[in-house]
């Protein structure tokens, strides 16, 4: 754009022609539309990220809860094994332990320290519980009970780590969900406020522009009507740039 053309636009603005008034109004409204859309898109994107973060936290919580459930199942079957001495219980405990290990591989990605602690505890628990089962199998009840107590202690450690992990993840997931909900609420309020502002300012500006056009046109109409009616003295609106 040359300085001449820029001056020309500025001068035409200054002249306040109908074209420029309508054009400016449209441009302003379109600009408001674009700005509000960009802001909303940005907000939506941010909110999407927050929702994804909340979903990821809930997924972590779900994985930790599943690990907890598998450990519970493993413990159930190893306890059952000590009483029943059935290989079925041992096989089911082994299967539960394998599933638990698979869950721990996932847990490790977001809570490596907890996963390592759980693994150590599970190893200690399983070793003591199986030794206890061996003792019960060989009718050595006293040593079996001692080993069962040792297994119980190891199990308590695993329980403690799992409970803490689940509690922390639940807090994080809830906080994340609340943050996403807050952001969504704020975005909605922002959108409503922007809408009201654009509507109000658009209405006002439209009214001003229309008024600036229609009032002089009304004067011309009246003057033409008066001339047609034979009036010799009519008042015309002052001449404008249009």
């Amino acid at each position: 754009m040359t300085p001449h053309s820029r001056r020309s636009i500025v001068s035409r603005f200054a002249l306040n022609s109908i074209t420029f008034r309508i054009g400016s109004l449209s441009a302003l409204l379109l600009a408001a539309l674009v700005v509000s859309t960009v802001v909303m898109a940005w907000d939506l994107r941010q909110n999407q990220i927050r929702v994804a973060q909340a979903t990821a936290r809930f997924h972590h919580l779900e994985l930790a809860a599943e690990a907890d459930r598998e450990f519970g199942e493993m413990r159930y079957w190893l306890t059952d094994l000590s009483v029943s001495l059935l290989t079925l219980s041992e096989r089911r405990a082994t299967a539960a332990r394998e599933r638990l290990e698979a869950k721990l591989v996932d847990v490790e990605t977001f809570a490596p320290d907890a996963a390592a602690q759980i693994r150590l505890g599970v190893d200690a628990y399983a070793e003591a519980a199986l030794q206890a089962a061996d003792a019960y199998t060989e009718n050595r009840r006293v040593i079996g009970n001692t080993l069962s107590a040792r297994a119980r202690q190891a199990s308590d450690v695993v329980d403690g780590v799992l409970n803490e992990l689940i509690s922390d993840l639940a807090k994080e997931a809830n906080a994340s969900e609340e943050a996403a909900a807050d952001a969504a609420r704020r975005s909605m309020l922002k959108a409503v406020a922007a809408c009201v502002f654009i509507l109000a300012s658009g209405t006002y500006l439209t009214w001003r522009v229309l008024r600036s056009i229609l009032v002089p046109l009304g004067g011309i109409n009246r003057a033409i009507s008066n001339l047609n009616a034979g009036a010799e003295q009519v008042t015309l609106p002052p001449e404008g740039p249009d």
Partner: protein, 238 residues
């Protein structure tokens, strides 16, 4: 390292054969006892009947009669060596004690399946037998690991090797036991494993469809009649 019976020197083979005969007798008596429980399973699990009339005396009489019917002589009839007599007596007394101790269970009214099945009976009898002989002789019903239901029946290393290398081999003559003398804690011990195969009566619990839960609550193994089911393991310290 296994020493097959047929490869033994003549003297040792003689001794091994005598011990194998003793092992066969113990296994046979155990099978008869188990069979009597099996034949009375319906009665034992009848919730409508209280006293089943299956006390230890009646049970032993039935076992002796059945044994005589099958082998031509009662378990304790003449012709036994003092050792054979002692072992047989211990086995019969074990059966009597197990039956006596389980009368409350067997005669429980209003209770259907009681879990007192041939396998449980055999395990209890074998455990009592071992106690009575202070480990001098042992009988155990075992099986390949994938068929074992109770941990007490898990095969030890020797049993496991015989089951896998001998009984599960297609070349092993069906029904032929394996025995040898092995050194245990520095003393020679006679060990014998007698294969057992599924009969039709076994298949309600051990047959198909694989994984379906049987009356004991255990998934069925999917066995077929004639398949290797396990083995009776005999250990005799010399």
């Amino acid at each position: 390292m296994f020493i097959a019976a047929q490869l033994r020197p003549a003297a040792a083979q003689q001794s091994g054969v005598a011990l194998a005969d003793e092992g066969q007798r113990l296994a046979a008596l155990l099978r008869v006892g188990r069979g009597v429980v099996s034949n009375n399973q319906g009665l034992i699990d009848d919730p409508a009947i209280g006293d089943k009339g299956l006390d230890s005396q009646a049970f032993i009489e039935t076992v002796e009669a059945k044994y005589k019917e099958l082998y031509g002589a009662a378990p304790l009839e003449e012709g036994l060596t003092p050792d054979q007599k002692r072992l047989t007596k211990a086995q019969l007394n074990s059966m009597a004690e197990v039956m006596r101790e389980n009368q409350d269970l067997i005669n429980a009214e209003g209770m259907g399946f009681k879990g007192f099945i041939p396998a449980v009976f055999a395990r209890l009898v074998n455990e009592r037998f071992v106690e009575k002989l202070n480990g001098e002789a042992k009988i155990k019903v075992t099986a390949p690991p994938h068929l074992v239901r109770n941990r007490k029946a898990r095969p030890d290393a020797w049993e496991s090797a015989v089951l896998t290398d001998k009984f599960e081999s297609a070349q092993w003559p069906r029904g032929q036991p394996f025995f040898e003398e092995v050194s245990v804690d520095g003393s020679m011990t006679f060990r014998m494993l007698i294969p057992e195969y599924y009969a039709d009566s076994c298949l309600s619990c051990h047959g198909g469809p694989t994984g379906e839960v049987d009356i004991t609550g255990f998934p069925k193994e999917g066995g077929a009649e004639g398949d290797l089911a396990g083995a009776i393991s005999i250990l005799l310290r010399k």
